[in-house]
């Protein structure tokens, strides 16, 4: 069984802070990590490797430093790692990103493609389903659990208030939730191997059969025209009102904040 897991190296956005003086984002020194949803997807693949001897390839589109993320996946136990990297791919929105990845995938063999549901920097949850569309594959999103039954996958597909158990024939694509499984740690030996005896295959633009119209900034239907920081949180408002007035005041504030 051949599994390809798409991963993204992302800044750990939970560790990003706003400069309290200038109000701007402090991007330096923010550690880069393997996106959590993707890592859970990789763990699911590695468990299928443990159970069925599946072959696990990890694919990532990113700048050269995504090498670090791929070494981590090798150290966790992936068999192969491929990095799609080229200046031509930069500035891509989800259409261009998914087109680029799909183009690379179309030259690869797979029974199952696993992506994470969303990346913690973009938070769009779009690339997985879009890759499936480009490749003409069934996609099952929001996978909380995955198992293999002969030539099919059986997935627990999450909704807000319920779940569906869905069966689909391979090849297909699923997007994994980080709740799916707890990713294993790397081993020190795995890390040493990842650096000393494994190669990461690099693919550049010219290795792909894809139009310029579908890659990078030029190939992106959407583009960012402005970005700005949210207001920095300072001390708020304190009131002293009688109980009924206080309640009204609170509910008004909550409605303003779209919490109610």
């Amino acid at each position: 069984m051949k599994i390809i897991v798409c991963v993204k190296q992302v800044p750990d956005t939970n560790e990003v802070r706003l400069d309290p003086v200038t109000g701007t984002l402090m991007r330096e020194g923010v550690p880069s990590i393997v996106n959590p949803d993707d890592k859970a997807g990789l763990e699911a693949a590695l468990r299928l490797k443990d159970q069925y001897g599946a072959h696990v390839t990890v694919l990532s589109m990113g700048p050269p430093q995504a090498d670090l993320a791929l070494r981590e996946t090798l150290a966790m136990g992936a068999d192969e790692a491929v990095l799609l990297t080229d200046k031509a791919f930069s500035g891509a929105d989800t259409w261009a990103t998914s087109s680029t990845l799909a183009s690379a995938l179309s030259d690869m063999e797979y029974d199952l493609i696993i992506t994470g549901r969303q990346a913690i920097d973009g938070d769009t949850a779009q690339v997985g389903p879009q890759i499936a569309e480009h490749l003409g594959l069934v996609n099952i999103s929001y996978a909380e659990d995955l198992r293999v039954e002969d030539d099919c996958v059986v997935v627990k597909r999450q909704f807000e208030d319920r779940y569906h158990i869905i069966k689909a024939k391979m090849p297909c694509l699923i997007t994994a939730l980080s709740e799916m499984c707890e990713p294993r740690y790397m081993t020190p030996g795995g890390i040493f191997d990842a650096y000393r005896s494994r190669e990461i295959k690099t693919l550049v633009r010219s290795d792909l059969k894809i139009d310029d119209d579908n890659i990078g900034l030029k190939g992106s239907p959407t583009r960012v025209v402005k970005s700005f920081t949210k207001a920095v949180k300072g001390k708020g408002t304190v009131v002293a009102l009688d109980a009924h007035d206080a309640v009204d005041w609170i509910t008004d504030r909550l409605q303003e904040k779209f919490i109610l």
Partner: protein, 339 residues
């Protein structure tokens, strides 16, 4: 593709078990505003099976018309039949804007569809406006993990697609007598689109949530007076769809379990809403919750340090305020849900 050929604002209505999800009404409300700015109409697209009775409500909340695809293949949400139906609608009716709820369904359907029709999709928008000069939709959304905001355009592709999370936009007050024509749209091949098998549908029952996963926390401190008063916190938490947490003092006093404790020696939480009741706000507690999006504090002592980090602070008796607050919130929610 000629941009001029595309007109109108479309809302992809979400229904489950033949009940319309609240977010759809919110999007129709916003869609109406956008349509007015564009001098065009807002259309609600309803996909399902035997869903005709739902159409009236869509009109009440602002839809100018409803396009309904009523087909047995659409009884339960499945990606491909829904994508086919919507793709056909887009092809036939050429809307310039299509909005979806950013839900477990919307975030599956919208990307698939945007790739099928080769257009741009912007997720989780918190603001939608029309640029008066270009007629383009200006989509603003959180980026970089929510640490900054970005405004995005889809200038050269149509329809412009966006998803919006529940609770971000507002539904309009229901209109009394409205004309909202319903057009049945037939799309062929939907049954053939069923390419997966749904083996089981399981609805979730309510279980006590991990405080680190809750989006809303109602937290009790020493000011709650005793364990019997914690039920007030639970009722408020239920009304808000959240769960109860507590300060260390309450845990030490045996009023709450250790897994509810927020603070330096408890858990760190970052909910959307943190309501601190009778909590003084010692440094050790603040360290565990000061990253919450919105902090409401209720405490008798005006000098309590919790007020330094609260967005909204009330100097008062939590024991008096909480029951009233719970009733008020329940009433507001019921009003918003009911159609």
């Amino acid at each position: 593709m000629n941009k001029q050929d595309y007109k109108g604002v479309m809302i992809v209505v979400q229904q489950m078990d033949n009940r319309i999800s609240g977010v759809s009404y919110e999007l129709i409300g916003k869609g109406k505003e956008l349509a007015e700015a564009l001098r065009t109409e807002v259309t609600a697209v309803l996909l399902g099976y035997e869903v005709e009775s739902l159409c009236a409500a869509l009109g009440k909340y602002g839809a100018d018309r409803v396009l309904m695809v009523d087909d047995p293949a659409l009884e339960t949400y499945m990606t491909e039949p829904y994508a086919r139906a919507m793709a056909a609608i887009i092809e036939r009716f050429k809307p310039e804007i299509v909005l979806f709820g950013a839900t477990a369904i919307g975030r599956d359907l919208a990307p698939r569809l945007s790739a099928r029709v080769h257009t741009g999709l912007t997720a989780d928008c918190t603001k939608l406006e029309i640029d008066p000069e270009t007629r383009d939709l200006m989509m603003t959304r959180p980026a970089f993990g929510g640490n900054i905001m970005a405004t995005i355009l889809c200038s050269n592709h149509r329809p412009q697609m966006a998803t919006v999370r529940p609770g971000v936009m507002q539904r309009i007050a229901p209109l009394e007598s409205v004309e909202c024509p319903v057009e049945r749209v037939r799309v062929d091949g939907l049954a053939e689109g069923k390419n997966v098998e749904i083996l089981e549908i399981v609805k979730k029952e309510n279980k006590r949530q991990d405080i680190q996963e809750a989006k809303v926390l109602v937290s009790g401190g020493r000011g709650m007076g005793g364990p019997e008063n914690f039920s007030m916190l639970e009722k408020l938490a239920d009304a808000l769809g959240g769960t109860v947490s507590s300060s260390r003092a309450s845990v030490d006093a045996g009023w709450a379990e250790k897994d509810r404790q927020v603070g330096q020696t408890g858990k760190t939480v970052r909910p959307n809403l943190y309501i601190a009741c009778g909590i003084s706000g010692a440094i050790q507690h603040l360290a565990g919750m000061e990253e919450s999006d919105v902090i409401v504090a209720i405490n008798k002592d005006p000098a309590a340090p919790i007020f330094d980090v609260a967005d909204f602070g009330v100097v008062g008796d939590a024991l008096k305020i909480l029951p009233l607050l719970t009733e008020s919130i329940k009433a507001i929610r019921a009003e918003k849900k009911g159609a």
